[in-house]
């Protein structure tokens, strides 16, 4: 008890915080646990109290340079080391480097005979010694309630506990005290009575055989904090809390576009495809080719060198790769190149929140630019519709915040309304493509509609969505008086139309040939007439010439006669005659 007063009461106006380094917990507590004060972590058996306490210390020691003392009342130091080795925490090493001190306090009622007045000064001395020996700034007591089973005199014990928390505060250490949940109370022995600064409640709830861990900050004196129940998970990297519901709607909107991987679909979406960082929903009944569309999108993205994370809730990785190979998409090459990663799990493997948290972790780890969730509707198996909706909205918000394009498929039930998805997230998505089975003339064919696509001029037309050996293709469907025709009906209609066009073409050609023929005929007639006319004209001119000669001869004869009879000169008549003749010609 040498160094009692640490500079800890300096921040009278603002509570100082001690970062836990635990993913998410610092966000919801607004920076960490109260510095220099005790925090109570309570919850039922196996909900992660010890882990939270230990991680608080280990992260403090490794990340924030604050050594810690772990006083265990339940597990021996060696057991702790073993247990935490599986989480990658090398407690022995930290202990050797004087970053961590483990102290196992053994309490056994049968070994303790009470023979008069006593106090728990021994505990204080041990704790004080451990703190001073490594200069600890953090302390964890796990689970101090064990003392209640070891000592009969509860009055002394309670007085000593009160003194202990005072002692911790005086030491200026940030402490985590764990406590077992009691019947209707936070802790079995009412520890919350002593630790009034910050209380964190851990819960491990099983609903429909699926367990979900949740964390709630019951109280945090002097600080604002998130009040919701936050899901958390424990995995090989330790404890992580997901404060997802705290994310707001202030993400940036990109104007960049990404190809859908299907050229004609790009055309339908304003020539360019989806917006980068937007959310795409593809709904359809079973077997409409939702996964194929996802594969196209993934393939196109990988071709551009982008990273994709594929969450599959229905099929295994190999099954997807095999199936997509049948439509000419080789996804395996991208997996081998490390551009594509599959995360396959059954929806019922764990609770929805755990799914969300796992997805978060995977996304944080892989840093993809595209995330595919195939299909979201399967998650309903793990929880109710409402929960799925809230989970998906959080997932989509999160992805948007990160600028990741989300591609979700959703299986709609047959007979359901088109404008409805089973999990009702349609209002959350930016681009909604519906794949539908169009039945007719003994066939089932796939039709594709763009139901909505925010912020772009998209096509309002139905396309036939054909899955071929070389990938998915979009075809125009025939829409006419007979209704929408697809598949063989469309092919037949197309053939019919082709024949019609051909016939019409031939008809036009024939008509044109008619015109030519008629023109030639007329021209021939004109030529014949001209020839006839020329001939007649020749004849007439010859007659005219002959008549002229005859007339001249006659006139000459008359003149000769007159001269012979010595009569007056007669006016020459020939001009008049010629003129009259010429007029007749023309």
């Amino acid at each position: 008890m040498a160094k009692l007063k640490k500079p800890k009461r300096a921040a009278a106006e603002l509570l100082q915080k001690c970062p836990t380094g635990i993913k998410g917990l610092d966000e919801i507590t607004g920076g960490g646990l109260p510095k220099g004060r005790p925090t109570l972590v309570c919850g039922g058996t196996g909900c992660g109290k010890t882990l939270l306490a230990m991680e608080f210390l280990v992260r403090g020691a490794t990340e924030f340079g604050e050594p810690g003392v772990f006083m265990s009342f339940e597990e021996k130091s060696e057991e702790l080391s073993q247990n935490f080795a599986s989480l990658g925490f090398d407690l022995n090493d930290l202990e050797a480097r004087k970053k961590l001190a483990l102290d196992y306090v053994h309490v056994d009622r049968s070994e303790i005979e009470e023979t008069g007045a006593y106090d728990l000064e021994g505990l204080f001395i041990r704790l004080g010694y451990a703190i001073d020996s490594i200069g600890a700034k953090r302390v964890a007591l796990d689970t101090i309630e064990t003392l209640f089973s070891g000592f009969a005199d509860e009055v002394i014990l309670r007085a000593e506990l009160r003194r202990l928390f005072g002692f911790l505060k005086d030491k200026g250490v940030s402490a985590v005290i764990t406590g077992e949940q009691g019947e209707g109370t936070l802790t079995r022995f009412g520890l919350e009575e002593y630790v009034a600064d910050c209380v964190i409640f851990l819960n491990h709830k099983v609903t429909e055989q699926i367990a979900t861990r949740r964390l709630r900050i019951v109280k945090y004196r002097g600080s604002a904090h998130g009040t919701n129940e936050y899901p958390f998970m424990i995995d090989e990297q330790g404890f992580s809390v997901m404060p997802i519901s705290s994310i707001g709607l202030d993400h940036a909107a990109s104007t960049e576009r990404v190809s859908t991987g299907i050229p004609r679909l790009d055309t339908m979406l304003g020539e360019k495809g989806y917006f980068k960082g937007s959310s795409v929903l593809v709904t359809g009944t079973a077997g409409t080719g939702k996964s194929s569309m996802a594969a196209h999108f993934v393939d196109a993205a990988c071709r551009r060198g982008e990273r994709c994370l594929y969450f599959a809730f229905e099929e295994s990785r190999n099954q997807i790769i095999r199936n997509m190979r049948s439509i000419g998409i080789d996804l395996e090459q991208w997996v081998n190149k490390g551009l594509l990663e599959f995360r396959n799990s059954r929806p019922t493997l764990y609770g929805l929140e755990m799914h969300l948290v796992t997805m978060h972790k995977a996304i944080e780890g892989f840093q993809p630019s595209i995330v595919v969730v195939d299909p979201i509707s399967n998650l309903v198996a793990a929880a109710s519709d409402m929960e799925v909706k809230s989970m998906l909205s959080r997932l989509i918000d999160y992805l948007k915040m990160k600028g990741i394009t989300a591609f979700c498929t959703d299986l709609t039930s047959v007979g359901g309304s088109l404008e409805r998805t089973d999990v009702g997230i349609s209002s959350l998505v930016d681009t909604w493509i519906s794949l539908q089975i169009i039945e007719g003339s003994g066939e089932r064919n796939r039709g594709l509609y763009v139901l909505k696509s925010r912020g772009m001029a998209h096509s309002n037309q139905v396309r036939e969505y054909c899955i071929t050996d070389t990938g998915a293709q979009l075809q125009d469907v025939y829409i006419g008086t007979g209704g929408v025709l697809t598949g063989a009906g469309r092919v037949a209609q197309e053939a019919r139309e082709a024949v019609e066009i051909l016939e019409r073409g031939q008809e036009i050609e024939r008509k044109q040939r008619d015109i030519e023929r008629k023109k030639a005929l007329i021209e021939a007639q004109i030529a014949a007439l001209r020839v006839g006319f020329e001939a007649e004209k020749d004849d007439l001119e010859r007659i005219i010439a002959r008549e002229k000669l005859h007339q001249e001869a006659l006139a000459e004869e008359t003149r000769v006669m007159a001269r012979f009879r010595k009569s007056d000169d007669l006016p020459a008549p020939q001009g008049n005659i010629i003129k009259a003749g010429k007029r007749g010609d023309r």
């Binding site: 009470e114 023979t115 010694y129």
Partner: protein, 110 residues
Amino acid sequence: MTSEIRPKVSRKIKTEDVEKAWQLRLYVAGQTPKSLTAFANLKRICEEHLEGKYRIEVIDLMVNPQLAKGDQILALPTLVRKLPNPVRKIIGDLSNTERVLVGLDIKPLD
């Protein structure tokens, strides 16, 4: 193991040849009334019931806090019976003689 002997209650070693019969270790924290009472009580009981067969070691944890871990000391004062086996622990100021005798497994003198 080193032992810290406070001047007032110097180490008592009675009859060297039977030294090993009873080894008692009393943990205290400073000279509080409780520790003084405890030591006085212990001495009295030992004199009455174990005359010449005991040895008391007093450890002041204020001086040697590192020793608290070894014997799993929580409450103070604590009396640990190191010998004879098995190790037994009793806590408190030893004012309840009957319980001390039960705790140390000493049969009262006839």
